[in-house]
Amino acid sequence: MNESQHLSSQFDEDLSRLRTHVLQMGGLVETQVSAAIEAYATGEIASVKTIVETDRKVNELEKAIDDDCAHIIAKRQPTASDLRLVLGISKIVTDLERAGDEAKKIAKGVRRIYEGGHLPGQYGVGVRHLAEAALAMIRQALDAFARLDTPQAANVIRADTDVDVEFKSIIRQLITHMMEDPRTITTSIDIISIARAIERIGDHAKNVSEQVVYIVEGRDIRHTKEKVQ
């Protein structure tokens, strides 16, 4: 968006590289989330170890990008939309890192369930559907950031409501299930923690989208009922 203002300048290149780094971190988080969901669906707990190890890489990326942000602010003293971009990015990486943590939580929950010899059973489908929705949200949020596309970001923010509703209905189902058959409580609690983690991933995707709106329009729409167009 700043291409016209400082064409081919070093500063512009720095910003562009920063964005690409953020999106690369996002790509890693997307892969983590989808791998965790895959593990849940297939019960292949071998991948859990990889997910836990890769999470360290996500953490490192967060620190590196935060460092870059600090450097750019100190050295270049960006203003207006450039400043918003840098500030927005430093918030986006926090959300991405947390989404990565949630993916790790899902993976660990999956290991607990399958190692305990249980199967997610009939709730497998509901949770998987929830997970697909959350994964789509994070993908769209990152696409919106790459393209600085506010309508897309607005879609993600709206989609979060659906994910929340679906999450609540899964919880209700599980509660009924636990009351009917107390032997399923252990597994159900693990499934609840997985569903919770997925729902949080949706929230993080929403936060990323809010930052995209802030970067492009300069409006802070967090914690408000303000409509996004």
């Binding site: 690409t20 999106l23 690369q24 996002g26 997307e30 990152l142 696409d143 790459a146």
Partner: protein, 431 residues
């Protein structure tokens, strides 16, 4: 050019020739003013043309021809022609480029051209769909900003493009893409993207087939070997011996039917195209109904309707086996009291043989794989029902050889409909 100079000088000389007598006979100043007026007239003439050229050069148009006066006309004409040629050349090149892009657009493979900074320069619509890009908004965007999968980023940065990268598409669809990087115009890169979902699926089918054949044959073999060992080592009384031998016979029959089905399948695959003899469908449907009634043992309601107006051209034994298979499946998977409906009727294009049941139905996700060899929706159940796992594979092959399509529709718990649609070329109308 020199003629222009001579002309200008001659005009100056002419005005001085007029000015000289005026100057000497009337007055000095009058002579000078006549001379100046001559020059001024020439200047005005040039300025007018100059202004015209100036106007035109701001917005060169070729629809109205550019006309000058006197010496200017030649210059204007040349400029005008030059502009016109240039425009024609550009239009021609535009056309060529457009055709080139249309050719890229027509490729069934995805193509993405990147510049030196890995930014998207161009991509065709196949690539847009495969990678979730949109050229109008994503031109100039680094490709790794949008295709963010770490494997892809590592592949692009790794610089080793000997082998293509196999990537599972993450855009909601369960597709497998094979991405190949080809350098072009120096260090620029072109991504060539093939959809290899089908190839990967075929590979899996082949692997599954070998594994399944071994598994299917080993299971009865293990049972046989176990009983044999028992019989060899333990002295059993006659009744037990009989029971064991019966079980062994059952297992060996199972193996035999699997091998028989495999042989049928391979003979169908290698056989010459089926004949075009007319098969009497009315009597065939009648025979199918009787077979179904025998298999059902009165537990189902069997309905058969055959359109006497048309018959099939093809190999009777193959069709009997294919249709018989569909009917037997319908009877097997329909609980007692259900209905199995066998129909044969002419359609607008060709004809259709269908078996409809009110059975247990099949989940939608299994339907595309149903005709794979040894594919089973529910392993235990179909083996109990006496299937070898090859029936539908044989049906599909036999029908394909008759250019017929097998169409499967099913709703879980409601019933299924298996229809073989024959093209007009395979249908014989009865006069």
């Amino acid at each position: 050019m020199s003629s222009q100079v001579i002309r200008a000088l001659l005009l100056a000389l002419l005005s001085s020739l007029i000015a000289l007598p005026v100057g000497s006979f009337v007055a000095h100043w009058a002579g000078w003013s006549v001379f100046c007026a001559g020059l001024a007239l020439q200047m005005i003439f040039h300025f007018r043309n100059f202004a015209r050229l100036d106007r035109w050069s701001h917005r060169p148009v070729v629809d109205a021809s550019l006309e000058g006066e006197g010496a200017w006309d030649g210059i204007f004409g040349r400029l005008y022609r030059h502009e016109k040629d240039l425009r024609a050349g550009i239009a021609d090149r535009d056309n060529q480029i457009e055709r080139l892009f249309a050719a890229l657009q027509a490729l069934t493979d995805g193509v993405v051209a990147l510049d030196l900074n890995q930014q998207i320069v161009y991509c065709n619509s196949t690539a847009e769909e495969q990678l979730g890009l949109a050229l109008t908004t994503d031109r100039g965007q680094p490709v790794v900003n949008l295709v963010r999968q770490p494997e892809f980023v590592a592949y692009l940065e790794g610089g080793d493009f000997e082998r293509p990268l196999t990537l599972r598409s993450d855009r909601g669809t369960d597709r497998v893409l094979s991405i190949h990087v080809v350098p072009y115009a120096g260090d620029r890169r072109l991504l060539q993207i093939k959809d290899v979902t089908q190839t990967v699926r075929l590979d899996r089918m082949r692997r599954d087939f070998v594994a399944n054949v071994s598994h299917e044959l080993r299971t009865p073999l293990t049972v046989l070997a176990g009983f044999l060992e028992t019989l060899q080592e333990i002295d059993l009384d006659r009744a037990d011996q009989h029971r064991y031998l019966d079980l062994m016979a059952e297992q060996s029959k199972r193996m035999e039917s699997i091998v028989q089905d495999l042989l049928t399948l391979s003979s169908i695959e290698s056989a010459p195209p089926p004949s075009v003899d007319i098969v009497d469908m009315s009597s065939l449907v009648d025979k199918l109904r009787r077979d179904a009634e025998a298999l059902s043992g009165g537990r189902h309601n069997i309905v058969a309707e055959a359109d006497a107006q048309c018959d099939v051209r093809g190999s009777e034994p193959e069709l009997v086996s294919a249709f018989g298979n569909l009917v037997a499946n319908a009877v097997r998977y329909t609980p007692a009291g259900g209905t199995v409906r066998i129909t044969w009727k002419a359609m607008a294009q060709g004809a259709e043989f269908a078996v409809e049941d009110t059975g247990i139905g099949i989940e939608a996700k299994h339907i595309p794989r149903l005709t794979e060899r040894f594919y089973r929706v529910d392993r235990g159940r179909s083996r109990d029902a006496g299937g070898t796992g090859l029936g539908l594979a044989i049906v599909k092959h036999s029908l394909n050889r008759h250019q017929a399509q097998l169409e499967i529709r099913s709703t879980l718990g409601v019933g299924s409909r298996f229809a073989a649609k024959f093209p007009a070329g395979r249908v014989a109308r009865v006069q």
